[in-house]
Assembly symmetry: C2
Homo-oligomer: 96 residues x 2
């Protein structure tokens, strides 16, 4: 069964554009990864400082590989520097 | 552009099974709605009390219609009674 990841970030007000710019390479490279079904950045319709990556992966093994990919290790720490401290990450299994 | 909805619920410990049971009719009926691309209930892999509806809709108009549907108005209040007070709902637009 596939897994979903919802990674919700509260970005610093003056850093939203930089955050979005950085995300573009991450999204582009991640979509090429084995087992990546969906990977996109979304902005909350009411609070533009909430930027959330919504992801779907074939399985946990593919997600682990993603965490160890060059693009993840290069770009994610730069994006994290632009966030407030309240990042919320959930890994989900579907209820069938 | 489509919209995503992430509705994260903290369900009372003794109510998880009832919550999942109630969700089944809601999911089944909602998937028949016009403009519903995705609608599924997901359980956090670390905290089984976190149950989240992950949704995708053609547009806001379809989502509004969903809020006014018979199945939504019948089932969602029953599900809400089984939750703690910390429900978090975000409506998202994709960053392209």
């Amino acid at each position: 069964m596939t897994i979903k990841v919802v990674a919700k970030h509260y970005v610093k007000p003056e850093k939203v554009e930089d955050y979005i710019d950085l995300s573009k390479e991450l999204v582009k490279e991640t979509l090429k990864e084995e087992g990546c079904i969906e990977y996109g950045l979304y902005q909350d319709s009411e609070n533009p400082l909430i930027l959330t990556m919504i992801e779907e992966w074939e399985d946990n093994k593919c997600l682990e590989k993603h965490f160890n990919s060059e693009h993840f290790k290069k770009i994610v720490p730069l994006m994290a520097d632009l966030c407030e401290n309240e990042t919320e990450i959930n890994v989900y299994n579907k209820i069938e």
